[in-house]
């Protein structure tokens, strides 16, 4: 059947008026073979491997974007969690590996490289703990490197020692980048139930069970969904609205799958997954908050927000799952505050609070994402917030993540700007009540009964 003019016009409108784009093509690269006793040599091998495998990623992505007339916003690489192969090093200082990864990212011309990561849901190996302690310096001395730590799973419970440590690490990373308002923390995410094939930063790594390399795609398109919802007016029932979102999600995902497969074929690497996540950017109209308000909320953060988000999240998955044979990654709406102009504005107005964001986490990915908190927030309070988020993930068998930025020297209500895709937002108030004794207990929160699924 020929393509009708209306369909062509609809696609052009989605791309040119509603800012439909492919958020990211992310090449996963296994680096286990780089292990060795000498960290300088390991760093060399890491640089060479990433450069060799990802050599053509940027030109191929740009050429494909031209062919289909749809922008690919980010080109990224995700590597094996560094703690896994750095364990063979004699030193405990893994910063040289971080620098090698960052240099490769710069020389390739990609936007971010992820995988300075440790997986510690039950206990920390010597290497994992060393890596975590290297994170603040690694992030402060780089600009494209992303780090992540998995501190809990539904099967293993929560590692409260690691959660307590991460509170301190976030503080340290903020202090080391105080001249940039603590922006190093924007490249550090703490997970519960992290996934192995996530193409989105800062939490992308090439996890267990992945191949030597593979290309994944993260879709986008909040502007397209908002336009479709707005076009329905204010009177149609929610079933009809969900149906419309599903239809749009199908189209967006098909575009992502096509672009991803084409890039993979040209690169000669396997196509991995499409991540069905609506990812916002700070650009006007490219906002998940706008969709929730188009559904009928006066302001995101008010009553009804969690329900509206649940509807949106599920409808996107239904449409997306039909459109691709390999959905994966996080696959859920993102609600990063500073990266979404409407969310940031509502937070500044006081309509959106950390407590509401915590509730919203229960029905989408990813959680407290790009939330700026006062510089004097204690490490224990940060750990308490991480533990709360991780508990929601653990009990509900879902991924949750925390990306907090305790902006040094900044107080509630001040605006902090990071620029680019990271955007900017207000410093949000944090509950003043201490959880220090709870956090300092350490140990593990046992795996819940939900984990005993066999």
């Amino acid at each position: 059947m020929a393509i009708a003019s209306e369909e062509i016009v609809e696609t052009l409108g989605m791309i040119h008026a509603q800012k439909l784009d492919i958020r990211t093509v992310t090449l996963g690269i296994d680096l286990h073979a780089c292990a060795g006793p000498d960290v300088a040599q390991v760093a060399c091998r890491v640089y060479d491997t990433v450069m060799r495998v990802a050599e053509r990623l940027v030109p191929v992505a740009e050429e494909t974007a031209q062919e289909y007339g749809i922008p690919i916003v980010n080109k990224r690489v995700a590597v094996t969690p560094v703690a896994w192969f750095a364990a063979a090093c004699e030193t405990r200082d893994y910063v040289p590996i971080a620098l090698a990864l960052d240099r490769a990212a710069r020389d390739l011309g990609i936007d971010f490289i992820g995988g300075f990561s440790a997986i510690v849901q039950k206990d920390m190996t010597r290497a994992a703990e060393s890596l975590i302690r290297c994170i603040p310096r690694a992030l402060a001395e780089t600009s494209r490197l992303c780090a992540s730590v998995n501190v809990g799973t539904t099967k293993a419970g929560l590692n409260m020692d690691a959660i307590a440590l991460m509170g301190q690490i976030i503080k340290e990373a903020a202090d080391l980048s105080a001249d940039r308002s603590g922006s190093a923390c924007a490249r550090l995410v703490v997970f519960c139930n992290a996934v192995d094939d996530n193409p989105f930063m800062a939490g992308a790594f090439c996890g267990a069970g992945e191949g030597d390399c593979g290309l994944s795609v993260g879709i986008s398109g909040p502007g397209t969904v908002r336009a479709a919802v707005q076009a329905l007016g204010r009177d149609l029932d929610l079933q009809t609205v969900a149906e419309e979102i599903k239809r749009v999600a199908f189209k967006i995902t098909r575009a992502g799958e096509l672009v991803g497969r084409r890039c993979a074929t040209k690169l000669g690497v396997p196509f991995n997954i499409v991540d069905l996540s609506l990812a916002p950017t700070p650009a006007p109209g490219d906002s998940v908050g706008d969709i929730l308000e188009a559904l009928g909320l006066d302001r995101v953060g008010g009553p009804g927000t969690t329900a509206a988000l649940a509807l949106l999240n599920d409808a996107v998955k239904r449409g997306g799952a039909m459109a691709t044979s390999h959905a994966g990654g996080l696959s859920g709406a993102f609600i990063p505050v500073s990266e979404d102009a409407t969310m940031a504005r509502r937070a500044a107005e006081g309509a959106l609070t950390i407590e509401k964001l915590e509730a919203m986490t229960a029905v989408c990915s990813v959680g407290l994402d790009m939330v700026i908190v006062p510089g004097d927030t204690t490490a224990e309070t940060l750990s308490g917030i991480i533990a709360d988020q991780a508990a929601i993930g653990m009990i509900n068998k879902k991924t949750t993540a925390v990306r907090l930025i305790p902006a040094p020297g900044r107080c509630v209500g001040e605006h902090v700007e990071f620029g680019g895709l990271l955007g900017g937002g207000p410093v949000m108030p944090v509950s003043p009540h201490s959880c220090a004794v709870f956090v300092r207990r350490g140990g593990r929160i046992p795996a819940p009964l939900q984990g005993l699924s066999n």
């Binding site: 062509i8 696609t11 289909y68 575009a255 799958e257």
Partner: protein, 118 residues
């Protein structure tokens, strides 16, 4: 018609449908969509078709309307066997658009098929 004859006919029809689908799939790689929007005046179509003809591109379908002084056109073009690459063709058309004050968008047809067909 006997049961056997019906079965045979169905098999022939299925094979035909497969062949059509296959040819469409391979054609999708060489078919591009050109969308043009701008203030209406004489010669817009002539300028674009001249560029296509000089490079050996074959126009398969055109739909054109004027909406309140605005010229809008969508063209399906086969670029199999043309003398330039897709990127060069796109560049020439976009440059032409800039010179003439037209908005010209050039894309592979595959993206539309992917988004609008199950």
């Amino acid at each position: 018609m006997t049961e056997d004859a019906v079965q045979t006919n169905l098999r022939v029809m299925a094979a035909h449908a497969r062949a059509v689908a296959d040819s469409k799939r391979s054609a999708a790689q060489t078919q591009i969509v050109i969308a043009v929007i701008g203030r209406d005046r004489p010669g817009i179509m002539a300028g674009i078709t001249a560029i296509l003809a000089q490079r050996g591109a074959n126009i398969l379908d055109v739909s054109q309307t004027i909406m309140s002084d605005l010229f809008t056109m969508i063209m399906l073009v086969d670029i199999k066997g043309v003398s330039v690459t897709f990127a060069q063709m796109k560049q020439v058309l976009e440059d032409h658009g800039r010179q003439e004050g037209l908005s010209i968008i050039v894309q592979h047809e595959e993206i539309f098929r992917a988004m609008h067909r199950v």
